[in-house]
Amino acid sequence: MSKHASYWKANLRLVFGCLVVWFLASFVFGILLAEPLNSIRLGGYKLGFWFSQQGSIYTFVVLTFFYAWRANKLDQEFGVRED
């Protein structure tokens, strides 16, 4: 496999992994499983409600920075970094 092809494959794996977390934090914990999660409490928050109005957003922020950091490392590993 060429260098570019294996770079692309590694990149797709990274993106897919991040999107799984993105989906869990919002659609699964915030919507699909919100009701059962609501029986667990986080201070004054019910957990499902917390994920839908706070937790998902914090997860998104961490996730984009994690992606940027990993993707930059991939660029370096495969020698396709700019400059």
Binding site: H4, Y7, W8, N11, V15, C18, L19, W22, S26, F27, G30, I31, L32, A34, E35, N38, L42, G43, G44, Y45, K46, G48, F49, W50, S52, Q53, Q54, S56, I57, Y58, F60, V61, L63, T64, F65, Y67, A68, A71, N72, D75, G79, V80, R81, E82, D83
Partner: protein, 577 residues
């Protein structure tokens, strides 16, 4: 100092700042004009993106929506932030690597033809124009309420300000003004929230206050108290009342996410940074700055709702007397956005879920943020600040949208299709003329808002979600996607979305022009029309892949181009050609 004078001073000072910045950052080349010379620092670009993105709807309306929908309002919070995750990973780095100025330009090149480019321009203009009408209305309303001018005058002032900094500065001016506007709007949003959180829970951080115990000595958590108050009066519980159905919430959230990732004025922001890795980081920074507002908004919504309930019903079963209603209540009655009707003539105002007995006949959701400081009895300077913040939010988004419209006219239609040999100087001139024209048109629509103004934001998202987002994604992630597939996908996605929205709300939102009424509403698996963009996108993807399967694959050089944009190295200086 009285409120009026303070408002003039605060709003005047912020405007002087914006115009000063516009003069300082004048655009000299088309590169400056379209993409700010591609030299914007990613943190600053993140801030500008946040201001660009957070419109009057985010600033003024969103907390109000959450206050009334409770848990159901989460779709806006997750949808309008989660889209940035998609942008950061699926679009921004690759479009930056490609290195052109506009979204239709990429679509035209990737799908090798002017027809694809023109189709993209049409989608872009419909989405942006519908969105900009809402901003112009927001500007007019905010001015008329607080500067006590009439609506028209307020709108003219707003148009003048947008004209000066957008036409002169282009993307460069807009970027730097938006950074200032972000600072104004986030400060204005947070300060009242901190005061109110402190007052209700004793905790100054609203995100924590929302999950804290009440400071009134009852020992109850704020959200539990709110749930109890609401269920006592027959409303659904605040923290678990879903919007229509779980499936509908799922689809609505998805539509807002991919709509966000497909809106051209947001995508354009990622063309303004120097390198691919800056585009990735910039999406993260944009999200940080957006999250600062979006995690405070649920606290503002819940606390405003609780304050409103407590004002009308100070103790269980004890309703407020009509002639003892507070001053803020009377102020907002004058605007017609708040209305009560003493149905049982007992001289008190009952606020209950039962429509026959409810005497709060109108509580416009848009007043919650603007009235919040007054409800919480905050000092006048805070109220003046909120006005300045709301205007900053509306102006920055309007400017970003107008730039997206102007560049698609001058760059995609004029230079790309009709007059390819135009000089850079004439193109710059043309984009300024297009921008001025767009401002005049938006102003006209703001003065004579069409019937459909209220429904348009949902349509803008639905269009972007069902047409632009899938076309861009397939352009990057599928080497075999061809022109026929992508164009068929865009057409089917847009048409189906329009069909569903217009069937519910009437063609062009004119109520008399509804059709197929016998099908009932939300007939597609219970999906409401506002949430249909994601379904349209699914139709887009499926159509595109089926058509691409049975038609000729894209030419060799296009497949090379796709391979090239997938790798960051060699992005180099961007070109406009």
């Amino acid at each position: 100092m009285d409120l009026q004078t303070l408002t003039y001073i605060v709003v005047g000072a912020t405007f002087a700042l914006y115009i000063g910045i516009a003069i300082w950052a004048r655009a000299k080349t088309t590169g400056d004009f379209y993409v700010a010379g591609k030299g914007v620092n990613p943190v600053l670009n993140g801030m500008a993106t946040a201001a660009d993105w957070m419109s009057a709807a985010s600033f003024i309306s969103m907390a109000g929506l959450i206050a009334f929908y409770g848990y159901g309002g989460s779709v806006f919070l997750m949808g309008w932030t989660g889209g940035y995750v998609l942008l950061a990973m699926l679009l921004a780095p690759y479009l930056r690597k490609y290195g052109k100025f506009t979204v239709p330009e990429f679509i035209g090149d990737r799908y090798y033809g002017k027809s694809a480019r023109i189709l993209a321009v049409i989608c872009l203009i419909i989405a942006s124009v519908t969105y900009v009408i809402g901003q112009m209305k927001g500007i007019g309303v905010a001015f008329s309420r607080f500067l006590e001018t009439d609506y028209d005058t307020g709108l003219y002032i707003g148009m003048g300000i947008v004209f000066i900094y957008a036409v002169m500065g282009g993307m460069k001016g807009i970027t730097y003004t938006q950074i200032a506007q972000y600072c104004v709007l986030i400060f204005a949003y947070t300060v009242p929230a901190v005061f109110i959180s402190m007052h209700l829970t004793g905790n100054p951080i609203p995100q924590i206050g929302l999950g804290s115990k009440m400071a009134d000595g009852s020992g109850m958590f704020l959200l539990d108290k709110l749930d109890a108050t609401m269920t006592d009066l027959g409303f659904g519980a605040y923290t678990d009342k879903a919007r229509l159905s779980t499936f509908n919430m799922f689809v609505y959230t998805m539509s807002l996410m991919i709509g966000t990732a497909g809106l051209p004025h947001v995508i354009m922001r990622f063309f303004t940074v120097p390198r691919v890795r800056d585009a990735r980081a910039s999406a993260g920074w944009a999200l940080v700055f957006i999250a600062l507002l979006y995690t405070v908004a649920p606290a503002v919504g819940a606390m405003a709702r609780l304050n409103l309930m407590n004002t009308i019903q100070p103790a269980p079963g004890q309703w407020i007397e009509v002639d003892q209603r507070p001053q803020w209540f009377k102020n907002w009655e004058k605007t017609g956005l708040l209305k009560f009707e003493d149905k049982n003539k007992d001289g008190k105002i009952q606020y209950v879920a039962d429509k026959a007995k409810n005497e709060m006949v109108k509580v416009d959701r848009d007043i919650m943020v603007l009235a919040n400081p007054e409800i919480a009895k905050l000092p006048n300077w805070v109220i003046a600040l909120v006005v300045a913040g709301g205007l900053a939010a509306a102006l920055s988004t309007a400017a970003g949208l107008l730039l997206a419209i102007a560049s698609s006219i001058s760059h995609d239609l004029l230079k790309g299709v009709f007059a390819p040999n135009i000089s850079e100087k004439s193109e710059l001139m043309a984009s300024r003329v297009a921008m001025a024209g767009a401002i005049a048109a938006a102003g006209y629509l703001g003065l004579h808002p069409p019937d459909f103004a209220a429904g348009t934001v949902a349509l803008a998202f639905g269009l972007a979600a069902s047409s632009i987002f899938p076309a861009l994604m397939m352009g990057i992630f599928s080497k075999s996607m061809n022109k026929q597939g992508a164009m068929a996908g865009m057409l089917v996605g847009i048409s189906i979305t329009l069909f569903y929205v217009f069937q519910h709300k009437g063609i062009f939102f004119i109520a008399d022009w509804k059709y197929l009424q016998s099908w009932g509403s939300n007939w597609f698996l219970g999906v409401e029309p506002n949430a249909f963009g994601a379904i349209g996108a699914v139709f887009n993807f499926v159509t595109a892949f089926v058509v691409a399967k049975v038609t000729a694959p894209p030419p060799e050089h296009i497949q090379h181009m796709v391979e090239n944009i997938r790798v960051p190295a060699g992005a180099g200086a961007a070109t406009g050609h």
